[in-house]
Symmetry: C2
Subunit: 86 residues, 2 copies
């Protein structure tokens, strides 16, 4: 692994780490009032595009980061749909 | 511009678009209670790392997306510090 990918993995760890507390907080509090469904869906589609881009660019760090973020975004959409019904 | 960069730019537009309403909402409401300063700082440093990575990968879409997100993250940190004092 070259040093460019090390920078990429540091970036991946930092940005995904910053995102996970939001998922955890939403899961625990079930408070989805501050989350916008259209915004989450736009974000989700955007992450899919970044993932495709990461594959084309042969970027392991982008693939890793966007895979984790895709799951996070999916969970937030799921929570939003589930807890908004109440 | 090749079709890979088109995917990248679509990704860039979608993910940055999803982030901007948060900045606008925080600016208007001055409600920073839901924002965690350590999380924002970790995210900010992560975006700097992605920006550096984007330059090394010669990726115009990564450079564009991360520059905009860097400004957004900076503004959120600024709002957090400014409005938390009240």
């Amino acid at each position: 692994m070259n040093y460019i990918e090390i920078i990429g993995f540091v970036a991946a760890i930092l940005t995904t780490s910053a995102f996970l507390p939001q998922v955890y907080k939403t899961w625990k509090t079930k408070d989805v009032s501050g989350l916008s469904l259209p915004m989450l869906v736009i974000f989700f589609v955007g992450i899919i595009a970044w993932l495709v881009y990461g594959f084309y660019k042969n970027s392991p760090s982008m693939i890793m980061a966007n895979s984790i973020t895709l799951i996070s975004a999916f969970l937030l959409i799921y929570f939003k749909l589930k807890y908004s019904k109440k």
